[in-house]
């Protein structure tokens, strides 16, 4: 039996420590992982918990991320609670198995610390890895600070394992900016956290050998489509459960989470849409802009997949102009967040003027002033009633101005 970890009502944790404590409190049966910057401390912290008797599950340090996710799939199919952590190249190496995990409807939780993808090699935060996995059939939750990294990881288990969902879930936090930035975190006590997540609910476990099961069958053209459509349906239906879990979490923690988070959006003329630690920078920029008389608000999808397009459209229905900020190289088109938001608006007959900004690649600083510039440009579009700025701009990029129209 694992020992109880005495926690103060307020701890000073970085995002990695917050995620590691959430895994510990979930009493995960198998963690199979491979270290990679900047998520390495999650598994290091977890290893220390194990070494000190605070964890009694199995901890399998495999020889690659591909094997990490493969072992997670084997363990989850065997029938128990499973989690891992990764970033960037490790995430990329896992991609094949991410699809297999979701295709087998295995409720694995992966705490992702977002980092750029090579080449050129870069260890700092951006959303390239998150975007790489966006079609992998996982639920993706976004955390903007260590408190949220902790809260989202606890919620992730409850969402993933719900009989109505049974899908793998990632929690995402920005490399270094969240993962290595210590802040005050208010944790739940061990028993409260575990009670919230609940006992693991087995579904077709391989280890119930009296009832043998086959996982990972072959389906060709006569069945593959039905399987994938059903899997998509499970994702599309999951927001109801996600909302339930967030509501339940609010009751025990006092912290309220939503499919779509907003800041000062109710009376706003213009809106910025972005995810991750930059959202917090943008909050400061919004306050400044409002002092200057610009009625600007913010929106962030807390859940990147399934994308809450109706909620996004509803929240943005009164704004005249929207700037979507993507922290990933769009490589030949507009950014993914831009596309999602534009699609959400179009689907609901809304016609806010939309622009796209690329920012923060490879950990490039994005300051309050940078966001203020975006707010001012977006406001110009709103005032003009048409787009007068570039369709796609780049924030804090060195060299000659780069933009696309």
């Amino acid at each position: 039996m694992a020992q109880k970890y005495e926690l103060k009502s307020k701890e000073v944790w970085d995002g990695n420590m917050a995620a590691a404590h959430a895994l510990r409190q979930a009493q995960v049966d198998v963690v199979a992982a491979y270290p990679i910057t900047p998520s390495t401390p999650i598994v290091q912290n977890y290893a220390q918990f194990l070494a000190d008797g605070y964890v009694d599950g199995e901890f399998v340090m495999v020889e690659s991320e591909h094997s990490a996710m493969s072992a997670c799939v084997g363990a989850a199919a065997a029938g128990g609670r499973v989690a891992t952590a990764t970033s960037s190249q490790g995430y990329a190496l896992m991609v094949e198995v991410l699809y297999q995990a979701s295709g087998m409807r295995l409720p694995i939780v992966m705490t992702v610390v977002n980092r750029a993808l090579a080449s050129p090699l870069n260890i700092h935060g951006d959303h390239s890895d998150l975007y790489l996995g966006r079609d992998a059939g996982w639920i993706h939750l976004i955390a903007n600070n260590p408190q949220e990294a902790y809260d989202m990881t606890l919620c992730a288990f409850k969402i993933a394992e719900d009989e109505r969902v049974r899908l793998p879930v990632t929690t995402n936090q920005d490399g270094f900016l969240v993962s290595h930035t210590a802040q005050v975190v208010k944790p739940l006590q061990d028993e409260d956290a575990y009670k919230f997540i609940g006992e693991y609910k087995p579904l077709n476990p391989m280890l119930d050998t009296k009832n043998p099961v086959t996982y990972g069958a072959q389906t060709e053209e006569e069945w593959h489509f039905e399987h994938k459509a059903n899997q998509h349906k499970a994702l599309m239906d999951s927001p109801a459960v996600i909302k339930e879990v967030f509501d339940e979490f609010e009751k025990i923690s006092g912290r309220k989470y939503n499919l779509v988070e907003t800041y000062k959006l109710d009376d706003a003329d213009i809106a910025l849409v972005l995810m991750g630690s930059a959202y917090e920078t943008a909050i400061l920029a919004v306050d400044k802009a409002r002092e200057e008389g610009i009625k600007v608000g913010l929106l962030m999808p807390r859940v990147f997949r399934p994308f809450p397009y109706n909620e996004v459209a509803e929240k943005l229905k009164n704004v005249k102009a929207v700037a979507a900020l993507d922290r990933s190289a769009p490589m030949g088109t507009t950014g993914a967040l831009y596309n999602e938001v534009a699609g959400a608006l179009a689907a609901n007959g809304q016609s806010a003027i939309m622009t796209n900004y690329i920012y923060g690649l490879g950990g490039r600083d994005t300051t309050v002033e940078h966001i203020l510039d975006v707010i001012k440009e977006t406001n110009e579009n709103a005032k003009a009633g048409k787009r007068v700025t570039d369709l796609q701009g780049f924030i804090n990029l060195r060299g000659p101005k780069l933009s696309f129209n």
Binding site: V30, V60, E63, S70, A71, G74, D208, A217
Partner: protein, 317 residues
């Protein structure tokens, strides 16, 4: 360890790998698999790499597996089984097992592509970590599932679809990788070679029983003559396997604790390698005068390796 007395009794063990699968007539995979899964009375959880066995045994909505079974990908059968085995350990520790009265053993199957090549890393990792499982390589010396491409198990001179014989080529240029010894070098408590055979059925059954009952990572490299790609008649499968042993092209031996080597069958009179090569279409071109040297090379390699095994056995190392 299961006590295996005679073939009739062994053959009457209830099937855990059912007929009706779509493997080729004469495929050795099913013979090997049936022998392995019948070699224990314990419950089994099995993982299988992408390959002939996988695509032919679990085509939705059917399955040939009357045991818990998982297939993830081509390169991760060992990682998958290591995860399942870790879960078994975790639930045992926490007193949360599903069936307290059953003992579960873990087995992974992979072809030579999924084992020698793309799955080698995950196999090496799982073996090094010491998971309690048996890995069985169904070694048919080529990527048979995808139309007979070469693998690092393909032997010298073999025609494959990616090392074809041609006007200026005699086929595969490399010798077969010695995976059994590589697995022994991992310090696995038990590794062995085996063949599907009417003559040597007990050799495989005993090795499988021994491997499954040994605690820790164990490995069996089972030669799986491939009627489709080696080009012999489907009814000749076990004959070809026997010839591989009688010529010492594929000697039967086992190694305990990474070093104690024992030859489990010693041909009375080693048959010349031509007898083995000439029975398979994949080697037909070696019998042209200009390729005679390859057969000589084959014989030399076989003799040297057989000599090496005998010396090791004699020296007890």
């Amino acid at each position: 360890m299961k006590n295996i007395t005679n073939l009739k009794e062994f053959a009457c063990t209830p099937d855990r790998f059912q007929g009706g699968h779509r493997l080729c007539p004469g495929c050795a995979h099913s013979m090997i698999v049936r022998e392995v899964v019948n070699a224990t009375d314990d419950d089994l959880v099995i993982s299988t790499a992408t390959g002939c066995l996988e695509v032919c045994s679990a085509i939705y909505p059917y399955t040939s597996w009357d045991v818990s079974w998982i297939h993830i990908g081509f390169e991760n059968a060992a990682a998958a089984i290591s995860g399942a085995e870790a879960m078994y350990k975790a639930l045992s520790k926490k007193d949360k097992l599903y069936n307290e009265d059953r003992r579960i053993k873990f087995v992974a199957f992979g072809g030579d592509g999924g084992t020698y090549d793309i799955g080698f890393q995950s196999l090496s990792g799982a073996a090094e970590r010491g998971h309690d499982f048996l890995y069985v390589c169904l070694d048919n010396e080529n990527y048979a599932n995808t139309g007979g491409q070469r693998s690092s198990a393909t032997p010298l001179g073999a025609h494959t679809s990616t090392t074809p014989r041609g006007r200026v080529s005699y086929g595969e240029k490399q010798r077969k990788k010695d995976l059994t010894m590589i697995m022994a070098a991992h310090g696995c408590p038990y590794v062995a070679t085996a063949i599907p055979s009417t003559k040597h059925w007990k050799d495989l059954a005993t090795k499988a029983a021994k491997a499954i009952s040994t605690v820790g990572p164990t490995f069996i490299n089972a030669l799986s003559p491939c009627t489709t790609e080696w080009k012999f008649k489907p009814e000749e499968t076990t004959e070809i396997a026997d010839l591989a042993v009688e010529t010492c092209a594929f000697p039967l031996y086992e190694i305990e604790d990474g070093h104690k080597l024992r030859i489990t069958y010693r041909p009375k009179q080693k048959i010349p390698i031509e007898e083995y090569l000439s029975r398979q279409g994949r080697f037909a071109h070696l019998f042209k005068p200009e390729n005679k040297w390859i057969i000589e090379e084959w014989q030399k390699n076989v003799d040297e390796y057989w000599d090496y095994l005998q010396r090791r056995e004699e020296a007890g190392v």
